[in-house]
């Protein structure tokens, strides 16, 4: 069954059409990487799928037309990890994670003991016990991403949207976060839709790659078919070499004038 389906999605930002006639369907538990040059519409597409931007066309999540969902019901199905999460001053890690229970709370309610247990469970799942009482604004980039992931998991989503989750991290921390997401999606059959900058990492972790350019879908398919040197060269206006490795294609930049 497909967890996420979009048909002829169009999204405007101001006057500008940023995503054009985009259709896709993602199987439950799959990882789809959205790649494309800056301004291709990756973030806009993620925000539209999360219901944060008005769009035309159809979106179904777990077989439900999202236009019939309330905002809270939506947030129970779809969680977003933003590119640069905001970290309010004076909020502890535990409090920040507990915000993920918001979609399950009554209008003016505070967390029940069941909610608190869910929060503690995610804290221990993501190995965050040491940080739980710390101020969130004192965390490093990698720690913060794990905290925000824990918050997203508290929403118990069917679909996890990641907006360049690792762009601010070094290569080691990138691997830690991506491995964690991969482990969780297998364990809980969460569908992952992730905008990714690093094409090699995108190829290693995703089942499918969607290449966007200027709001249009250029090609969707398995990493090996989409990530071709000529196609990347054209779309990104870049000069690259694609090596075939067991883990997937590895995209290496090539200096235009070298040798």
């Amino acid at each position: 069954m497909n967890t996420l389906e979009c048909r002829l999605l169009n999204v405007n930002r101001g006057e500008k059409l940023v995503v054009r006639d985009l259709s896709m369907s993602v199987e439950k538990g799959h990882w789809v990487a959205l790649v494309g040059p800056n301004g291709a519409g990756k973030t806009t597409l993620l925000h539209a799928v999360a219901g944060l931007l008005p769009s035309t066309g159809d979106i179904w999540v777990a077989g439900q037309d999202v236009r019939k969902l309330t905002r809270k019901q939506y947030a129970q199905q779809v969680a977003l990890m933003p590119q640069q999460p905001s970290v309010p001053a004076g909020m502890s890690v535990r409090e920040l994670i507990a915000l993920g229970r918001t979609p399950y709370l009554g209008r003016f309610a505070t967390e029940s003991s069941a909610d608190k247990e869910a929060v503690e469970a995610e804290i221990s799942n993501l190995d965050l016990e040491r940080f739980a009482n710390r101020q969130a604004d004192q965390l490093s980039g990698g720690e913060l991403q794990r905290v925000i992931l824990a918050r997203a998991l508290c929403q118990q989503p069917q679909i996890l949207l990641l907006d360049e989750p690792t762009s601010a991290l070094d290569i080691g921390h990138q691997q830690v976060v991506l491995e964690l997401v991969d482990h969780l999606r297998h364990e809980r059959e969460i569908t992952v839709l992730a905008a990714m900058h690093d094409l090699t990492l995108a190829a290693q972790y995703s089942d499918q790659i969607m290449l966007l350019a200027q709001g249009n879908l250029v090609e969707a398919g398995p990493p090996r078919t989409v990530l071709r040197a000529d196609q990347i060269g054209q779309t990104y206006n870049a000069k690259v070499e694609v090596l075939s490795r067991e883990s997937g294609p590895a995209v290496i930049p090539v200096r235009p004038n070298s040798r």
Binding site: R71, G90, A98, R130
Partner: protein, 362 residues
């Protein structure tokens, strides 16, 4: 209503101590006891201080005697009793209500605007309410005592709307300083309009002018009865939004992705905070900076969660204004300082302190 869950998770068994203090149940008890203790103490001090020479012992007896099933008598004369019950006590209660409302509204504005400098005074709400109230006062009989808060509310809403609209056109409303600058401009405009109205109807100049400087009036319990419905509504609604205000702290996009409509929450909270603020401004005049001093001090000591911040701001705001009023009554006795002068004297330096800290945050 627990602020942050205490748990016996695996981490507490680890020998490595957490760097931040654990907000345990005992800490919470300490927090509430200290807040209520400070409030009670300042109410008593406010009740003791005054020119009529009532002794604290008699006041305590008088208060105790008013409780049901307590049979004690003070040695106050009938006239002294009247002074206490009809002049001094209502003034203390009014001070507490005004202080609590200004502080909790300040905390709420700061929450929805995500701006540490937002305050009823600096957002222009007070000036807008001032214009509305001045129009009501100068029109006198035709509007009446109970119409003043309504005029003040309309003025306050127009002012805060103008501030927000102006602030949003520059830099997408993201910059704290832009909103405050817009608030200063709006406040100046409304103050000018207010002065114009006041001068035009110069027969009520004296009344308007003393009101303008901020003062807690002495007309018995009338003012309290006039504003109580508005401030109660505002307290209750703001308290209901305590958790949602915590959600709003993570920004509009993330708030929406957590299932809350940020624009709707902002609208309701601003309307509610403005209702409370304008009601107290209508009877107490322009008392500035309480909405900045108190929430920031509470945040520094007790943390930023609105579940703690809102009720504690109310308690400490009430205590602060009662004590400030006691000071205003005694510093230049037998004359009185306008209380707004005292809060500004304390608040302006504090504002600069917050500005310096806020720069680090943003």
């Amino acid at each position: 209503m627990t602020s942050s869950p205490t748990t016996r998770s695996a981490s507490s068994a680890e020998p490595v101590a957490a760097p931040a203090p654990v907000p345990g149940r005992r800490r919470q008890v300490v927090r509430w006891v200290s807040a209520l203790g400070v409030l009670a103490a300042s109410l008593l001090i406010g009740a003791f201080v005054g020119p009529a020479g009532l002794s604290p012992k008699d006041i305590l007896l008088e208060l105790a005697g008013s409780l049901p099933f307590v049979d004690v008598q003070s040695s106050l004369t009938a006239q002294q009793q009247a002074i206490f019950w009809q002049i001094r006590l209502p003034r203390v209660v009014l001070g507490a209500i005004v202080g609590a409302t200004l502080a909790v509204s300040g905390a709420a504005y700061q929450g929805v605007f995500r701006n540490p400098l937002a305050d009823p005074y600096l957002l222009g709400v007070s000036a807008g309410a001032g214009l509305g109230a001045t129009i009501a006062i100068t029109q006198g009989g035709s509007i009446g005592h109970f119409g003043v808060p309504i005029f003040a509310f309309v003025g306050g809403i127009v002012a805060v709307g103008a501030t927000y609209a102006l602030g949003a056109t520059v830099g997408g409303g993201q910059s704290s300083t832009v909103i405050v600058l817009a608030g200063v401009a709006v406040a100046a405009f409304f103050s000018a309009a207010q002065t114009f109205v006041q001068q035009w109807f110069d027969d009520s100049l004296q009344a308007v002018y003393s009101w303008l400087l901020g003062r807690l009036s002495t007309n018995g319990w009338t003012d309290i009865r006039v504003i109580l419905p508005y401030v109660l509504v505002s307290w209750v609604v703001l308290f209901l939004y305590r958790r949602i205000l915590d959600v709003l702290a993570v920004g509009d996009v993330e708030t929406a992705s957590l299932g809350i409509d940020p624009a709707r929450v902002r609208l309701i909270v601003v309307l509610t905070a403005t209702l409370g603020t304008t009601a107290v401004v209508a009877v107490s005049g322009l008392i500035g900076f309480v909405g900045i001093i108190i929430p920031h001090a509470v945040r520094l000591v007790f943390g930023a969660s609105h579940r703690i911040l809102l009720p504690l701001s109310m308690a400490f705001g009430a205590a602060f204004l009662v004590l400030t009023d006691a000071a205003a009554r005694t510093l230049v006795a037998p004359a009185e300082l306008p209380i707004g002068v005292v809060t500004a004297f304390l608040g302006a330096p504090f504002f600069l302190f917050v500005l310096r800290r806020g720069r680090v945050i943003s």
